[in-house]
């Protein structure tokens, strides 16, 4: 019994030493990032939306832009360039503050949901440059760029491509939630583009019915919905909704006739690069060029300290056809170029 009791004391003593060592070591060398005030090296921080930095989607595209900028400027990941992955949507402000406190010069926040927290931080810290990906700015702040995209336009191109590829006269879209405006823009653009080519076309668009936290992370639902669309004779399917959309694309890639009679279109990034499993059917992706836009904005700032006020429209369009390039008829490519030009000069409207 004596032995057992001493074991208890021993373990409690261990806890105490652990706690104590944690205190004392902190008190010693203060955090270097917070105190180092060298003017030379730019410090760039990124706050993700709830999720991982390597999500093969939004967060990753923005982070890749930051990394490319870092490479150009000779900055070290983990030293001058860091990210924080948000765990809970209530933490946006805290996570941004973490970078502000450490004296970072550029803070990139990813996702429409961080808009308010980013705006508040930009107002409170006019010397820090903020880039809000997918955050439309109602009024311009000098030190805040809202990096936004015309999702309806790239959706329009995707819809036009889908309508031209479809032989059955039925196409489909498997979508994240309509609680998020960019997804709605993709869908409306897709439908308008398809009807622009073929007013009689049947379009099966389905939003994920769940709450916002599930809508983009439900590949099973995406796959089941894609299957359903195939059963209803849809032969081109647009998957737009993070992992949910990816589930749809993978389902179609495995279906009989994939790549010959049945095609799929990805979203946000060139999913040929990010989702190899979809290669059998993936003709293109309706892209938001997040990575090059983030790189551009940071490079501009790094060159002469100029901050882009208000909204910055990043490129939006179709990804390359990759292995399907030979399979897409020249007339289709020509028509798409014509549409893209029309959208760019305003002679063509998506109606969104």
């Amino acid at each position: 019994m004596q032995k057992k009791r001493s074991a208890v004391f021993l373990s409690i003593a261990l806890v105490c030493t652990l706690l104590l060592s944690a205190c004392t070591t902190v008190a010693g060398p203060a955090n270097p990032a917070a105190t180092a005030d060298e003017p030379a090296a730019l410090q760039i921080g990124l706050v993700t939306d709830v999720g991982r930095v390597n999500d093969r989607s939004f967060n990753q595209s923005a982070w890749d832009g930051v990394l490319q900028a870092a490479a150009e400027l000779g900055l070290q990941e983990g030293e001058e360039v860091k990210y924080i992955e948000t765990q809970d949507s209530k933490d946006y402000a805290d996570n941004i503050q973490q970078f502000v406190d450490a004296g970072f010069d550029v803070i990139v926040t990813v996702g429409f949901a961080l808009g308010e927290a980013t705006l508040a931080a930009a107002q409170a810290h006019p010397d820090t440059y903020f880039i809000g990906v997918d955050q439309f700015q109602g009024e311009a702040l000098p030190n805040l760029t809202g990096l936004v995209f015309r999702e309806d336009q790239s959706g329009f191109l995707a819809g036009a491509l889908a309508a031209m590829l479809s032989k059955s006269g039925t196409i489909a879209a498997v979508l994240g939630t309509d609680l998020v405006p960019p997804v709605v823009a993709f869908k409306e653009g897709y439908e308008a583009g398809a009807r622009f080519i073929n007013p009689e076309i049947t379009i099966l668009s389905t939003y994920h019915p769940g709450e916002i936290s599930q809508a983009f992370t439900d590949p099973e639902w995406g796959a089941a919905t894609a299957k359903q669309a195939l059963d209803q004779k849809a032969d081109v399917i647009f998957g737009a909704g993070g992992m949910t959309g990816n589930g749809a694309l993978q389902e179609i890639a495995a279906a009989p006739g994939a790549g010959t009679e049945i095609f799929c279109i990805g979203v946000d990034t060139d999913q040929w690069e990010t989702l190899p499993a979809a290669h059998p059917c993936l003709v293109s992706s309706a892209m938001k060029l997040i990575t090059p836009s983030v790189l551009d904005l940071i490079s501009t700032y790094a060159a002469d300290g100029s901050m882009t006020a208000g909204n910055y429209f990043g490129g939006a369009g179709l990804a390359p056809f990759h292995d399907f390039d030979a399979q897409i008829a020249p007339e289709i490519k020509e028509k798409l170029n014509e549409i893209a030009a029309g959208l760019a000069d305003g002679s063509l409207s998506t109606g969104y």
């Binding site: 019994m1 032995k3 057992k4 074991a7 208890v8 373990s11 409690i12 261990l14 806890v15 652990l18 944690a22 205190c23 070591t25 902190v26 955090n31 990032a33 709830v50 991982r52 983990g78 860091k82 990210y83 924080i84 992955e85 765990q87 809970d88 949507s89 209530k90 933490d91 402000a93 805290d94 996570n95 503050q97 973490q98 970078f99 406190d101 450490a102 429409f112 949901a113 309509d178 609680l179 405006p181 709605v184 409306e188 769940g210 709450e211 916002i212 936290s213 969104y352």
Partner: protein
């Protein structure tokens, strides 16, 4: 005889403390296996939770809703009920308090009314599983889990911005938000004020939560109702023979549990977020289960464990910032804590502890099943 006897307190505390210790140790091991530096990580965690006034304020802010959801789960445990619905009750409380908070400009006592609305919302949401259990025998675990989904989808509907093809927007949607689904901000008269000013974002809700915890302790251990509740939890058949109305206690306990979780939602909204949007989930409701078990379902223990889990949450961002260790490891550690406190036999085996003596209040977690 007295609840505060040192020996008793020691017996109650030893398993939770060792559970936390073991979870941190396993967490460190995991980090080491993945090539990260656990010491740097824990140093960052400490710094982020207690290293500065701002860190402290984050810890306190994170702790506040955990106290209440922890209490919600605890009081249900006292009656032998497993309330997995704190998440849904939290969300309904949020929606109800926002509904009052954005309307009724100029009404006297706006803040208390909005808080009360949250409590009533949660209370009613807790009443449903209570009634279903008592009158139909439906198990509260199943019903409360299902009601979580109903609550979050209902909440999303209330703020839905409406479709582009003329679908009707939800009743609480902010007409100035354009295509964004969310409510307007609650009026200033319905907000819980900041204690230390805006930058620290600590609101008076934390004192309210601590007050509720003390009240709950008094209710459970010093009142007839609390005694009846504990008796039902210990042995419902004996309670019935003793003349206790078991049905009434069951319904009432789930209502109180719901009300407390609803208050948590109201406090988070009126103190911190000032609005509801679908991305505000009821995750703290699930964390409340960990808090309750770690706190041995004792309201004072809940205060301690909410503080600890709040600190873990608060420090995670700084940990990732300083050491590059993914903040997810914190969730792993919390899950390990839960596993260790839920299976005290593991801890007793590892650390060779004696079986506890007669702890009349020891919680029976599994009594809900197989009845």
């Amino acid at each position: 005889m007295h609840i505060f006897s040192l020996r008793r307190a020691g017996q109650l505390l030893v398993v939770p403390i060792l559970a936390v210790f073991s979870a941190l140790l396993v967490g460190a091991l995991l980090m080491w296996i993945f090539g990260d530096d656990p010491l740097a990580a824990y140093r960052g965690l400490w710094e982020g939770a207690f290293g500065s006034p701002r860190a402290w304020s984050t810890t306190v802010r994170k702790m506040t809703p955990l106290i209440l959801t922890g209490l919600s789960v605890s009081i249900a445990f006292k009656a032998g009920l497993f309330n997995i619905g704190a998440s849904g009750q939290f969300i309904v409380g949020t929606v109800c308090s926002v509904a009052v908070g954005v309307n009724f400009e100029g009404v006297p006592a706006h803040l208390p009314l909005a808080l009360l609305a949250g409590v009533v919302g949660g209370l009613l949401w807790g009443l449903i599983p209570g009634l279903l259990k008592v009158f139909t025998g439906a198990h509260e675990v199943i019903v409360t889990i299902m009601l979580n989904y109903v609550a979050s989808l209902f909440a999303a509907w209330t703020v839905y911005a409406g479709g582009t093809q003329g679908q009707t927007p939800g009743p609480l949607w902010d007409v100035n938000a354009g295509p964004i689904s969310r409510t307007a901000e609650v009026l200033a008269s319905a907000r819980l004020p900041w204690i230390f000013g805006e930058p620290y974002r600590v609101h008076w809700g934390v004192l309210l939560a601590i007050g509720v915890a003390l009240a709950m302790w008094w209710l459970i251990f010093k009142t007839t109702l609390g005694f009846a509740t504990r008796t039902v939890g210990a042995n419902s058949k004996a309670a019935r023979y003793a003349g206790i109305n078991v049905r009434w206690i069951t319904v009432l306990t789930l209502m109180i549990a719901g009300g407390v979780a609803g208050l948590a939602g109201a406090i988070e909204t009126l103190g911190l977020n000032h609005r509801f949007a679908p991305e505000f989930t009821g995750g703290v409701g699930f964390d409340g289960i960990t808090v309750a078990l770690l706190g041995q379902t004792n309201p004072l223990g809940v205060l301690l464990s909410a503080f600890l889990l709040g600190a873990l949450d608060a420090g995670s961002a700084r940990m990732q910032f300083d050491s590059g260790v993914a903040a997810d490891i914190i969730q792993v550690i919390q899950a390990l804590v839960l596993a260790f406190v839920a299976a005290p036999a593991i801890i007793r085996q590892i650390y060779r502890l004696r079986k506890p003596g007669d702890l009349s209040e020891s919680t029976v977690f599994s009594s809900g099943w197989g009845r």
